[in-house]
């Protein structure tokens, strides 16, 4: 076993240099650091929406704002700030509320009224990875960017890294 390891080590050492290893390591590190800065990073997360829920049921009562089926999240796409140390209206400590927000409208189940909801991203910190919800009611394709929620809506903020999203009611739809 020790001989095999030695042969492998020597083989690798003959084909590579320490510098090339460091270059590759550096590329990996920079690439990893850049990933949260990419403008669209929620698409990949959608496949993991169920598994990333970390203890919170995807199908809840519709009254718990840490579950995806809470009525105000009908057009939500991202991680719930209510699960990430913030609340449904407030960003977690260490993040910055984006000056821009995606706007949708949701029907309140009890009142049977439609409300205008602002989905504002909290930025400046890596993904929260808790309570990923992907409801997207009323969303348009990516080429209609102002009505697409796959985008990270951190533009205008100092940092583009996406952490989570809040859902604030702006008013009642006439």
């Amino acid at each position: 076993m020790a001989g095999l390891v030695e042969r492998l080590t020597r083989s690798v050492a003959q084909r590579t240099s320490r510098r090339s290893f460091l270059v590759r390591l550096g590329k990996l590190a920079i690439g990893g650091a850049m990933l949260p800065l990419l403008p669209i990073d929620r698409v990949a997360s959608k496949a993991h929406a169920q598994t990333m829920n970390q203890g919170h049921a995807v199908s809840g009562s519709g009254e718990d704002d840490t579950t995806c089926d809470y009525w105000r999240y009908c057009a939500f796409d991202g991680f719930l700030c209510a699960c990430c140390g913030g609340s449904i209206t407030e960003c977690p400590a260490g993040t910055i509320a984006s000056p821009t927000a995606w706007v949708g409208s949701c029907r309140h189940p009890g009142e049977a009224k439609e409300y205008i909801v602002a989905y504002r991203d909290c930025c400046g910190k890596g993904q929260c990875n808790r309570c990923m919800c992907n409801n997207n009611q009323g969303e348009m394709p990516i080429y209609r960017t102002q009505l697409n929620n796959d985008l990270v809506w951190c533009f205008g903020a100092k940092e583009m890294a996406y952490h989570c999203t809040t859902a604030v009611i702006l008013g009642q739809k006439a």
């Binding site: 407030e90 960003c91 706007v103 348009m140 209609r144 205008g156 604030v168 008013g171 009642q172 739809k173």
Partner: protein, 152 residues
Amino acid sequence: MKRLLLATIILALAMPVIAGAPPPPSHQQYPPPIQLYMMNCWGCHQTGGEGTPGAVPRFKDTVGNFLRVPGGRGYLVEVPGVAGSALSNAQIAQVLNWLLVAFSKPQLPSGFKPYTETEVALYRPHELNDIRAVRADLVAKLAARGIALPRQ
């Protein structure tokens, strides 16, 4: 005047949302032009039309100036956020007429004529291939008249 007053009151009520204070569930109903603004423009241009420096153009005390120079009236319809929106031509006319008065009344030229659905239909298909150059040209025309506007 009543309309402007109503808009001011509504915008003032919405201010805590911008300031980040957790608002109670609001039952505020908006008149149609304001609702169009809230649903389609507010997310970027913000409650008072402040925009975001370097990212989103400002409306407040600014946007009405574009109607003072040739090409400016069409520009406000041709910009991608308006021309490419999901709004009908009539809705675009409605929301533009509202925001011009609500955010930038003092800057409007005397004898301001509101946009019509037909006029929006005329401008809307014209694509701005180089929006920065078009804006820079309009800003230069305004500067020649002593009106300073941000380049973005």
